[in-house]
């Protein structure tokens, strides 16, 4: 195994973590769009409370992905940035609008309910933009339609490579997957706060989004022989067992959600995301941009990759315990002092 392979595995891990954490935050943003009905306001409050403390550090995984990618495989990164300039730019706009509208909404003093609604809608729409366009770009790369024979002849593609049925399907699937992950997490959050009614609402949303994810996944599979031949062949050769496992775990996650085993559903949806990303990664390996650019051909000098690897190891030693502490404080630790949840909710009424 080369250093480049190790870095590929790290990139994959970062993508996985970003999907199950960052993806859930995007999903939560989209769920807010469907926070309707009697419990709508409470759904929105619970969503904001759950992602508030964690979403920013989850977002850093994307930065991490970006910088490790361009340090380990600079020519591939440069080429992708030129060819997929437009979808990537739209993903960035989503990031800006999502983060700022969320914080303005939750930390700003907004007096008019109309303005709160504008911020809330911006937050939801922006939460959809980023995963959609990132997945679209990834699908365009994976499908093998981007031809890079000479770095200097790379030009920006205005849509023929990434506005394909396959890329659009995968983009849409990313959206429903994020919503599914998020809805399942929210069922656990709601149950732990004794809000069974909210848990039911999130369960319904999770089931619908999960079904859509499965349907879009199948559609993607059907499209890939003609639309994404590189990926299809890679899958046939190396990843059939993984694809089967992905389907089985998906069914199991849906069953756990159906039978209200929310904690189990949470575990299973994480495993599901892992298998899904693993099927893709294994099918595409060793190509970074099939059919022309491999990990070996796009590697930065060995010295750089080694230095990067050492840096990443130090990073993980510092970041993993900190991240654990963050989740411990907000997701595991019982509130002992001062205000508890019931208090907070009565406050507005009391005043």
């Amino acid at each position: 195994m080369t250093v480049a392979d190790v870095l590929l595995i790290i990139l994959w891990l970062a993508l996985f973590i970003y999907t199950i954490f960052g993806g859930a935050d995007f999903g939560a943003g989209m769920l807010e769009l469907f926070a309707v009905g009697e419990s709508g306001t409470r759904q929105e409050t619970l969503i904001d409370e759950s992602i508030g403390p964690v979403w920013e550090s989850n977002h850093v995984w994307l930065i991490f992905l970006l910088v490790v990618f361009f340090t380990a495989f600079p020519p591939a990164f440069a080429a992708i940035n030129v060819v997929l300039f437009i979808p990537l730019l739209l993903a960035v706009i989503g990031i800006v609008l999502r983060g700022s509208s969320f914080v303005f909404k939750t930390h700003g003093i907004i007096r008019r309910s109309r303005n709160v609604r504008i911020l809330s809608r911006t937050f939801s729409v922006a939460s959809a933009m980023t995963p959609f366009f990132l997945a679209l770009a990834a699908a365009a790369i994976a499908s093998g339609v981007i031809v890079i024979q000479n770095q200097s002849q790379v030009v920006t593609n205005t849509g023929s490579d990434w506005l394909t049925p396959f890329a659009l399907t995968i983009g849409a699937m990313a959206l429903t997957l994020c919503v599914t992950i998020s809805a399942i997490y929210m069922t656990v959050e709601a149950t732990s706060k004794g809000e069974t009614e909210l848990a039911e609402a999130f369960r319904r949303r999770g089931l619908i989004a999960g079904a859509l994810t499965a349907a879009l996944g199948l559609l993607g599979l059907i499209l890939s022989p003609s639309e994404a031949p590189a990926l299809w062949h890679g899958m046939l050769e190396k990843a059939i067992p993984l694809v089967v496992l992905t389907m089985l775990v998906g069914v199991a996650a849906a069953a756990a959600l159906w039978f209200r085993r929310y904690v189990w559903a949470r575990v299973l949806i994480v495993v599901e995301a892992a298998f899904l990303l693993l099927s893709w990664g294994v099918s595409q390996y060793p190509y970074i941009i099939p059919p022309d650019v491999t990990a070996a051909s796009a590697s930065s000098p060995l010295e750089t990759q080694q230095f990067l690897l050492v840096g990443i190891i130090i990073a993980l030693i510092i970041v993993v315990p900190s991240q654990w502490f963050l989740f411990y404080v907000f997701k595991l630790k019982k509130v002992t002092t001062g205000v508890d949840v019931a208090d907070v909710e009565q406050k507005p009424a009391a005043e």
Binding site: F70, L88, V96, G108, T156, E303, T304, L308
Partner: protein, 459 residues
């Protein structure tokens, strides 16, 4: 607009916007840490309330900093793919290391902002340390990358391939210590005078109470301690340019021909095509020679020592010179205010001087501190042109071939403007929220994470 110009303006906009929040995001957590520490130590409700109210401000500004920083990390690739291709192989790991500090910052900020009721007061206070410490480290790393672009080291180019990569040499490149010192101090000057400005305005409007005085004094202490050090650091970095980046120095003072006895032209406007001056400004004979080598006989390298297309274009030189002079002017004014304030403070035996003219001086220092940072970055970035990596990669070769750059530049400009307006409105509202009773219990009951939602639902 050509792709190069459009990309440069867009990048300049993004960086100019982001740097304001960098200064705030490095400095504010330190202010929080000091205020909360003093509050807990002395059981002082005023310090505690400052920490609690500042934490809401930090939540707003930090996020604008984080998203604008994300934009930049994407723009590096989207606008300058060849730059990333070149630099990624050498200083790329630095960006990854910066990621560590960004992680730590984001994680502990989340804990700090939302954890008031979930942690013991002391544990909560301790969580403020990783925020500002990693903020300083992150700045350290990113400025290192910039210094490497100014004085590239740690690699060789053979037949168009990068060989002999030595990351340590790249990190500890010649201009690195100067740039880091200058930027970190700039952050403290900025936050110090920025905070002092806000409370000087309040005091000027009659809010002469302990709460506002404490806040202004803390800001001034940070600002007034760092500004003299900053002037020394600025002097050192300017001198280092004479050997490391002579053309940048020549552009800053529009020195056309290599010579000795070079004067300084304070606020003069150079006429570069004619190799002369429209207005000389305030001329200090032998000034630059003295600055560089402590002797009027010191030789200063001139612009004409390199071909015209190897140095900043003529209009850029005017901008560089004026930006440099403005920065120095602002720095001098802030130093003056610092000296006057401390003399009065000591003469009055620790009673805070609150004369109207002095408060106005402090108020002026706020925007000046931030403008000085912007000017400094204009000098260092424009002064390196036409290179993005000095003597190795031309900016015009680094730019993307992607279309519609005029359009994307417009979109991001609009986003920045809207974001700034909303942010300013929200910050002003934050400042106007009524104070709770200045008692320990009342202050502790103010929960920063929840108060805002309560207000939102009430109306």
């Amino acid at each position: 607009m050509s792709n190069l110009i459009a990309a440069r303006i867009q990048m300049g906009n993004s960086l100019g916007f982001h740097i304001v929040f960098v200064v705030l995001a490095i400095g504010m957590p330190l202010m929080l840490c000091i205020a909360e520490g003093l509050g807990l130590w002395r059981k002082d409700p005023e310090w505690m309330l400052l920490a609690r109210r500042w934490s809401k401000v930090v939540a707003l500004i930090f996020i604008v900093g984080a998203v604008s920083g994300t934009v930049i990390s994407f723009e590096l690739g989207l606008l300058w793919p060849s730059y990333i291709n070149f630099a990624g192989s050498i200083v790329g790991p630095l960006f990854a290391i910066e990621g560590i500090f960004f992680f730590v910052e984001a994680i502990f900020l989340g804990i700090y902002l939302y954890g008031w009721d979930r942690l013991s007061p002391r544990a909560h206070w301790i969580c403020s340390f990783p925020i500002w410490i990693s903020g300083i480290f992150a700045a350290f790393i990113i400025v290192t990358v910039n210094s490497w672009m100014n004085t590239p080291a740690g690699f060789q180019v053979q037949n168009g391939k990068l060989v002999g990569i030595n990351s340590w040499q790249a990190i500890f490149n010649p201009s690195q210590p100067y740039e880091i010192m200058h930027m970190v101090l700039a952050a403290f000057v900025g936050i110090g005078f920025g905070v002092a400005m806000v409370y000087a305005i309040a005091i000027l409007r009659g809010k002469r109470d302990g709460y506002h005085r404490k806040a202004m004094l803390l800001g001034l202490t940070v600002g007034l301690v760092s500004i003299p050090l900053q002037m020394l650091a600025g002097d050192a970095i300017a001198r280092s340019l004479a050997t490391q980046q002579p053309i940048k120095l020549a552009s800053m003072e529009a020195v056309y021909n290599t010579s000795s006895h070079v004067p300084l032209h304070l606020m003069g406007i150079p006429n570069v095509p004619q190799q002369s001056w429209y207005t000389q400004g305030l001329v200090i004979p032998n000034g630059l020679s003295l600055l560089v080598g402590f002797s009027p006989d010191t030789t200063v390298v001139g612009l004409n020592s390199v071909p015209a297309n190897d140095r900043p274009s003529d209009p850029l030189i005017v901008i560089i010179h004026l930006a440099f002079d403005l920065m120095v002017l602002f720095g001098t004014f802030m130093t003056l205010v610092a000296i006057v304030f401390w003399i009065l403070f000591i003469v009055r035996k620790g009673r805070m001087p609150e004369f109207g003219w002095l408060l106005w001086g402090i108020i002026l220092c706020g925007p000046m501190a931030f403008l000085a940072v912007e000017c400094g970055w204009v000098v260092t970035e424009e002064g390196r042109q036409p290179w993005v990596i000095y003597n190795y990669l031309l900016t015009s070769d680094a730019v993307t071939v992607a279309p519609y750059l005029n359009f994307t530049f417009g979109v991001f400009t609009i986003i920045y403007i809207v974001m700034s307006i909303i942010l300013i409105v929200l910050l002003v509202r934050q400042a106007r929220t009524p104070m709770p009773k200045m008692e320990w219990a009342a202050v502790i009951a103010v929960n920063p994470a929840e108060e805002s939602t309560v207000v939102a639902q009430e109306s």
